[in-house]
């Protein structure tokens, strides 16, 4: 069983390596959106600092969403998804692996590039670890919840916009907690509460989202 799951992860990552533009567009979008903010609201360091938590998190949500449409769509188009449904492993686990691959491709690069953008927005060095930790806990939630939206809109015309409408409201809790964690540290408080809640949310999403996405896939392929 582990072999099958490992194979799927290996296959998905091989595809990312062979087609790196998918992953690069996501990081590129993230960086560009954040870089545009100082141009729009003006270069005052205090203002940028105050906006930073929200800006970084909203940009992360939108960047993740860009990539969701392709989470299952490519496999759906070329028929691989039917083969996955027929695989002897439970579909829930396969969806979990696929989501993990998606996170490695989109979420992890956002976490890694975030210190750079934090400096750009004037965050202090001691605030950056909290930002990264919150993103590390939060971006997998974005991928997991996004998988449900991607599965539900499979084969639907204009699915990209529909995913946004379905998924963005569900992104509110990680947004509030993630941005809140950074905000707390910036105001000299402790981010412990926010990070704990974010971890709890991640565990909840890990258990329920793959199952829901798998059920949605079965319905959409029926």
């Amino acid at each position: 069983m582990l072999m099958t799951l490992g194979t799927l992860l290996q296959r998905d990552l091989t595809l990312v390596v062979r087609r790196p533009q998918d992953a690069l567009t996501v990081v590129g979008f993230f960086v560009v959106v954040i870089a545009l903010f100082p141009l729009g609201v003006g270069p005052e360091p205090e203002l940028l600092r105050r906006l930073a938590p929200g800006v970084i998190w909203v940009a992360a949500l939108l960047a993740t969403m860009l990539s969701l449409a392709r989470l299952f769509a490519d496999d759906y188009r070329d028929g691989s998804l039917e083969q996955l449904l027929l695989a002897p492993e439970p579909l829930t686990l396969l969806v979990l692996v696929r989501t993990a691959a998606h996170w490695l491709m989109t979420g992890l690069p956002l976490v890694l590039v975030s210190p750079l953008l934090a400096v750009q927005l004037g965050l202090r060095p001691e605030e950056i670890p909290v930002l990264m930790l919150a993103l590390l806990l939060g971006t997998p939630i974005l991928s997991l919840v996004g998988a449900i939206g991607a599965a539900l809109t499979l084969g639907v015309r204009g699915g990209g916009v529909l995913i946004a409408l379905l998924v963005l409201p569900l992104y509110v809790p990680p947004l509030v907690l993630g941005a809140g964690a950074l905000d707390a540290v910036m105001h000299g408080a402790d981010a412990q509460t926010h990070l704990s809640l974010l971890s709890a949310l991640l565990l909840f999403a890990l258990v329920t989202a793959p199952w829901a996405a798998a059920a949605a896939l079965r319905i959409m392929l029926d």
Binding site: T14, L15, S80, E82
Partner: protein, 221 residues
């Protein structure tokens, strides 16, 4: 690689009905497929051939009736019905970015079988794809892609093959190879269900099932 007779289970369809939108495609359809038998599903375009195959694989649910593998209903088969059958749909399930060999190997491993490079190369050679192993599947022609999809089928060596238009896009040579593979599958005690508009013409126990054009009852011909 000769197909293995992995099972002496029968595939039974009992009183199946399928609907597409509001239209009933067929109803009261039943048959039993025993090891060594081939069933050719015939019917006009839109008569529900693909729907029937998808129901038999457990990908779609029938409007009525049930499919059994041996005594078990499809949903209760241990390891999923996917571990008993290979399904080849309209689309070849190939990734353009992966090489031909990777495509075959990944597909077989995802199906839960341990397949080595040599086994994959042997199957590819049998399908006339020697020299293409390391090329990305994206540059292959339609017929060659179909051959790669067939290679997966041969490598998996499952007791039941469910093939949707397997002869589409294949040239005379590949069709002959496929017919040979079908004959070997039947001789080895395997089962085949396929749709095609061409004559199958495989030695062995072949029956055909004609789906009705209207809503009448399907009859075996």
């Amino acid at each position: 690689m000769p197909p293995q007779a992995l099972s002496d289970e029968c595939l039974r369809a009992v009183d199946l009905a399928a609907e597409r939108g509001d239209r009933r495609l067929f109803q009261h359809l039943g048959f039993t497929l025993a090891p060594g038998q081939l069933l050719q599903v015939q019917g006009a375009n839109g008569s529900g051939k693909t729907s029937l195959l998808r129901i038999l694989c457990g990908l779609s649910r029938p409007a009525r009736g049930a499919v059994y593998w041996g005594e078990e209903p499809l949903a209760r088969v241990e390891g999923g019905i996917g571990s008993c059958l290979s399904y080849l749909g309209h689309r070849d399930a190939l990734k353009d970015e992966l090489s031909v060999r990777e495509n075959v190997l990944f597909a077989a491993r995802l199906g839960g079988m341990i397949a080595g490079r040599e086994a994959a190369d042997a199957v590819l050679a049998r399908l006339g794809l020697t020299g293409y192993e390391d090329l990305p599947a994206g540059i292959l022609s339609q017929g060659q892609k179909r051959r790669v999809a067939l290679a997966r089928l041969l490598l998996e060596a499952r007791p039941l093959w469910v093939l949707d238009e397997p002869l589409a896009a294949l040239d005379a040579q590949a069709s002959a190879i496929l017919r040979e593979a079908l004959a070997a599958q039947l001789a080895g005690g395997g089962m085949v269900i396929l749709t095609t508009h061409q004559a199958v013409d495989v030695p062995g126990d072949c029956t055909c099932l004609r789906l009705p054009d209207g809503i009448e009852v399907a009859t075996a011909c």
